[in-house]
Subunit: 396 residues, 3 copies
Amino acid sequence: MASSSLFCTCPLQAPVSAPKTMKCYTDFLSNYLSLFKQSPNSGSHSRVLFNVKSINREQSGRLLPRNRVQCQALDVDNKPSILIGNKFQLDDVIEAQQFDRDILTAIFEVTREMERVEKNSRSSQILKGFLMATLFYEPSTRTRLSFESAMKRLGGEVLTTENAREFSSAAKGETLEDTIRTVEGYSDIIVMRHFESGAARRAAATASVPVINAGDGPGQHPTQALLDVYTIEREIGKLDGIKAGLVGDLANGRTVRSLAYLLSKYQDVKIYFVSPEVVKMKDDIKDFLTLKGVKWEESGDLMEVASKCDVVYQTRIQRERFGERTDLYEEARGKYIVDGAVLSVMQKHAVVMHPLPRLDEITVDVDADPRAAYFRQAKNGLYIRMALLKLLLLGW
Amino acid sequence: MASSSLFCTCPLQAPVSAPKTMKCYTDFLSNYLSLFKQSPNSGSHSRVLFNVKSINREQSGRLLPRNRVQCQALDVDNKPSILIGNKFQLDDVIEAQQFDRDILTAIFEVTREMERVEKNSRSSQILKGFLMATLFYEPSTRTRLSFESAMKRLGGEVLTTENAREFSSAAKGETLEDTIRTVEGYSDIIVMRHFESGAARRAAATASVPVINAGDGPGQHPTQALLDVYTIEREIGKLDGIKAGLVGDLANGRTVRSLAYLLSKYQDVKIYFVSPEVVKMKDDIKDFLTLKGVKWEESGDLMEVASKCDVVYQTRIQRERFGERTDLYEEARGKYIVDGAVLSVMQKHAVVMHPLPRLDEITVDVDADPRAAYFRQAKNGLYIRMALLKLLLLGW
Amino acid sequence: MASSSLFCTCPLQAPVSAPKTMKCYTDFLSNYLSLFKQSPNSGSHSRVLFNVKSINREQSGRLLPRNRVQCQALDVDNKPSILIGNKFQLDDVIEAQQFDRDILTAIFEVTREMERVEKNSRSSQILKGFLMATLFYEPSTRTRLSFESAMKRLGGEVLTTENAREFSSAAKGETLEDTIRTVEGYSDIIVMRHFESGAARRAAATASVPVINAGDGPGQHPTQALLDVYTIEREIGKLDGIKAGLVGDLANGRTVRSLAYLLSKYQDVKIYFVSPEVVKMKDDIKDFLTLKGVKWEESGDLMEVASKCDVVYQTRIQRERFGERTDLYEEARGKYIVDGAVLSVMQKHAVVMHPLPRLDEITVDVDADPRAAYFRQAKNGLYIRMALLKLLLLGW
């Protein structure tokens, strides 16, 4: 039940400008890890306690040299973390690995509340007066609009740029840290999309306001991971005992990798990997699942997997990963298509998911089936982001 | 008085993803047309009844297979449609042809109200809590700012992208329908600009929220058409009996084509076409006007036309239509200029209009004359869009 | 004490579309100048009285030919201008030269108030219902976000474009004046960034709503100048008697030029210029300072200057100014670096400032020192802009 393991796909970047903070964070990671090496199934679990980032708006005196993030690891009994009062704080959202089962449960509970927020109700105004900056170093309109909608659905305001590369362009040449220090002066929370793995972590280490990673290159996209798990619980009604078939590009897709990682936090999970040979799931995840006692198998038979699963999670084969080898791409992309035939063998309660955008790996006729959950999944992204914004700005 | 005719410049695109809806729409068009073939001047007229698009925010259960748009044609007596209670609904704004005289009258009445909305008054907050997505596949800053201003003047909020092409770019490759289904999850209404004729209609067929066409390539730009007609009524005080001179590029300009179409709904209208030979008004419009009993003539004498008209509607000769033939372009653009001389023969109550941007087809010295109505016309675009947003989101 | 002189780096552009207004403005400049040629230290000083731009939203009748700006020069006793009741009006913010000492004092007083505006307080809603258009002809994300944050921190709303060049692009080809007349119809205030010197002045001459210059090419960037002076007062506690070292690219940097100009309005100021030979401060500013009785000297010894100054104002050497001569650039940029050694000789109360972005002309280790004021300086830009928005939209 404990959520001990740390699965670092995104190595710490060095050097960063706030070494104290980073050192503290690194120490915490080591402590956290070692704690659970000692008692991996102890029935108690670790709880992270971050102090709230002090959102210092006064400027009436000089700022003291900053040492904002104090970390400590803390054993608690097997209570849901939400009961620990106001002490439990979400500080930044940087990577899937920062969430254990209890935090997920708590976030999902808030997410459910967000689904019930009605226009012009009191709860639709809880972030009134707050300002979110969407700092995008590359365009990702879908993700950006989802975050901005989330902020506005809660009464908050948005500063937006898809042109953040200008900060670090040849002519201007500013470091990410300097940009963050400027932008944090204008806003209460920063949602950042970057082309470099690890950029979100560097930003969070610098910022005195919360940072949400909206994707940093091949690194992490934690809100996508959260909405995927949330959608499974929402659609199927449970996470323990779930059977999920992950289909398509399992080598490069960060969504399926994060999903497999997060599902390992639940009991009695079974994962099927269905992919063309060239884009098979990598060994690090398989080894990790084995280590965590999660059952998994690889299969070349989508129909059989579909008939057994609660969730068929289809992904796009990304042409850009194949470079010149368009022959390999064409071979891979046509291999596992979710169509009417696949639907016909799926169970009545099962669903088809997809992180979108899709090309033709799910045929259009599937859309009309109630088991096509991918547009509802996209909508859940809105609710997850509303929940995170609330949690980061107002706390539990 | 009845508004029977359908003037389709924009053919139905096939295939679309919601065949039922489209079939229904097509059936309706046929019915509508045939109704009036039977009784073109019957004193009664057709009324379209769309059910409101169900803006389903609950997601608490599965969505039922959608069949959202039910259409029926309905004969009513010769009352203004605004008296039919709340049953008359504007669903989407896709093309000029969807408006008959009564709908125009009703929209203009709301538009007048919009002119009187004052800062921080109650009416300036009627769209509070609503979220508009401006989904622009090509930049059109003027149109976008006008819509966004309209939404904010009524207390609503905006999600904006001029980068929507990214959705359908080579790497991402999403269909318009998938994009719409994602964006409708984030917003309450979609304003779309697209480079392809018919795109707005496809979007509306897919979306469960209202769609406004902000221009789809060479196709339609219905809010421009509405603001043009509104401006004439606002400036001259009437539409029946109006004399309008359409000047400039009449072959390619969608604004003058739509304007001629809409003016045909009024009585005793006279239209003059003044254009260089290479960009003359096309036969389809002329035939249509003849069929509708609208008087029109072509003239090469701008001075004479200007002296007779209530409205001189000047347009820009578009260089991009001439390709390599810059000689033809130069010849065409210099031919009919509205300047002080033209003004001097115009009647005192008459006005000069222009859809903007202008180059030198109206000289700058004309601006100071009170009869120069083109900046007021642009401002009217704001009020028209406020009215449409109100109508689509709140109803009459 | 009087603020008589006019230091025009930005010549009047001709022709402009509102000749009357411009003529009036030019007359005023001459009067203003001549007044002070007569009595440069008279103890009384000139006050400018602009009528408020009439923000005509009615459109119920035709607009009268516009002659909106009436100017007159007015002698008053030596009272702070803020006491003159509501008659003193800030109309547009176009260039540093429009501010005299009293106006600066008054603006800084409002700026202090802005620092104290709290989330969801009444003062955070004073611009509710107002709409600001950020009309950027070139991207400047830092400046844009700062203005937009300022507007939203006061409850106002924003229309934004970094794509304003589209208005004047080859295909569309609209004049700046026409664009302004369109955009003023959508908004209550225009913040403009342009690539051409003098563009802001042209926009202000046309617009019936206030215009703020957010930088026009090599011309002016008055809000940067204001925030620089404000920061000095905020950090050091005074402006009279200040000792400032201006370091780096003094030939091309508009910030240091404007700063030197504005400091000349205070008494007993001493300015040190420290720069590589190729980018020395130009004679026009030096002559002006001499004329105004401001002490200045050039020095090649940064350490010595730093030890004497209250403010070390470092600037970036701009590579783009050197063209092919990267050798000269490399030589220039390495010459005067603010690092730990420089800090060690600075006085305890002194500060390091920088307009940002910085490259390596201030080393990163300086950031942790409380005397590093540049991020606070950036934050002050927010407060200055809040103050200007308040003043332009609501008055004193």
